[in-house]
């Protein structure tokens, strides 16, 4: 038996430069065919000699033979990863973790709220929903970012809007005079999209503060806790439940998360320094 903390070495098939500090690495999958992952799951990526970090899968889960990882350069390991080129090797373990509740969205409206790099773990859910677009009601995507230059997946968002009727709305925290889009917090977009809170599923991914006020607004609109799904993040070393770092109250984010239905974490969600 191989130790689950030993990575596999895989080749980078393609690198997409997304913006000034973010790239997407398309890495060959362990198996050439079959689903690469469930939407919401993550891999541990190892940059030779530097270290290993958890990175959410950001590609189409149904695309065979490849796994996409959208990485923002924020530290030593992510910097090394964002500098890799096509044909380079990377260590991969995974996929790990829980998935977005795509099946429970059937026949219902779907609200996706993304903050910053949080759009990346939500993208596989969007792909999965759009693959069978007719199964779902309204789909609203609310995306908040720091500024225009930090936005990701702009062209795709146009496609989702145009071809699939996704109510995609983008807002930034501040902008220069020439920005024609929205400025303000992401929840300010909620009144500007159509969905039925009584028959909707919400998926939220972003910084904890942003998720806190998003959950609050959704509940004000009448959504039930069990229909709201959030992703949580903690320091993570092993991804297999051995290292203890990613504990969040009674849960291990690596195996019980990163996606949680809000009713599961409600009692601890607001506790500080947990």
């Amino acid at each position: 038996m191989i130790h689950p903390m030993v990575p596999e070495v895989r080749r980078i098939k393609r690198v997409y430069r997304e913006n000034h500090n973010t790239v997407t690495l398309a890495v060959e999958a362990a198996e050439a065919a079959g689903p690469a992952c469930l939407p919401g799951q993550f891999n541990m990526l190892y940059a030779f000699g530097v270290g290993e970090v958890p990175i959410s899968l950001s590609g189409d889960p149904a695309e065979p033979g490849v796994q996409h990882h959208t990485i923002r350069d924020v530290g030593a390991v992510t910097r090394a990863l964002t500098r890799l080129k096509r044909g380079d090797s990377v260590g991969v373990r995974g996929p790990f973790g829980s998935a977005w509740p795509i099946a429970s969205c059937r026949g219902r409206d779907v609200v996706l709220i993304a903050g910053g790099i949080g759009i990346a773990p939500l993208r596989p859910a969007i792909y999965a929903l759009l693959r069978e677009r007719e199964r779902y009601g309204e789909i609203a995507l609310l995306y908040g970012a720091r500024a225009r230059e930090d936005l990701l997946f702009g062209e795709e968002m146009e496609l989702w809007r145009g071809k699939y009727g996704v109510q995609a709305r983008v807002t930034v925290d501040s902008a220069k005079w020439d920005w024609k889009g929205n400025v303000g917090v992401v929840t300010a977009l909620l009144p500007r999209v159509r969905f039925d809170p009584a028959h909707a599923v919400a998926m939220i991914c972003g910084p904890e503060v942003m998720m806190r006020f998003s959950v609050l607004e959704l509940k004000n609109l009448g959504m039930e806790d069990r229909n709201i799904h959030v992703t949580l993040e903690r320091n993570m070393k092993c991804a297999v439940g051995f290292c203890g770092h990613c504990q969040y109250g009674p849960t291990f984010i690596c195996k019980d998360g990163p996606v949680f239905s809000f009713d599961r974490v409600r009692s601890i969600f607001g506790v500080r320094e947990l």
Binding site: S174, A175, K176, W177, K180, G181, G184
Partner: protein, 156 residues
Amino acid sequence: MKTLEPILEEHPFFRNLEKCHLELVVGCAANVRFEAGQFIFREGEPADQFYLIRQGKVAIEISPPQGEPIIMQTLSEGEILGWSWLVPPYHWQFDAKAVELTRAITLDGKCLRKKCQEDHSLGYELLSRLVPIIGKSMEAARLQLLDVYGVKPRAS
């Protein structure tokens, strides 16, 4: 004669306002339209209007001492613009600029203040609707201040 009453009644801000109050307010109302790029008001000017946005998008801008103006917030259809008409000394604190063609109902601030003074129940009704919006807007500003999406360098 056609009045603005039905339009006022439709706007989320005045939804379910009592008829008698609506009749008082409509006397202060007028239709306005701003072209893309047009300033609706500028910082420091007397604040004597209250806008209900019907269509379009308005940017709230602040101009730092050096550099270009920064957009802090945008407002769209169904939202309101400006409450400085309610707060002495009734001067605008920011610039407001139409980002795209914007249609709105404007209510005369002096007129509103006078009617609220005369009819406290109208005044209470208006404030009950305004204060949550002001509160939300302040919460939002605080959250934006947190820069939650920013990249923080590792503390050494």
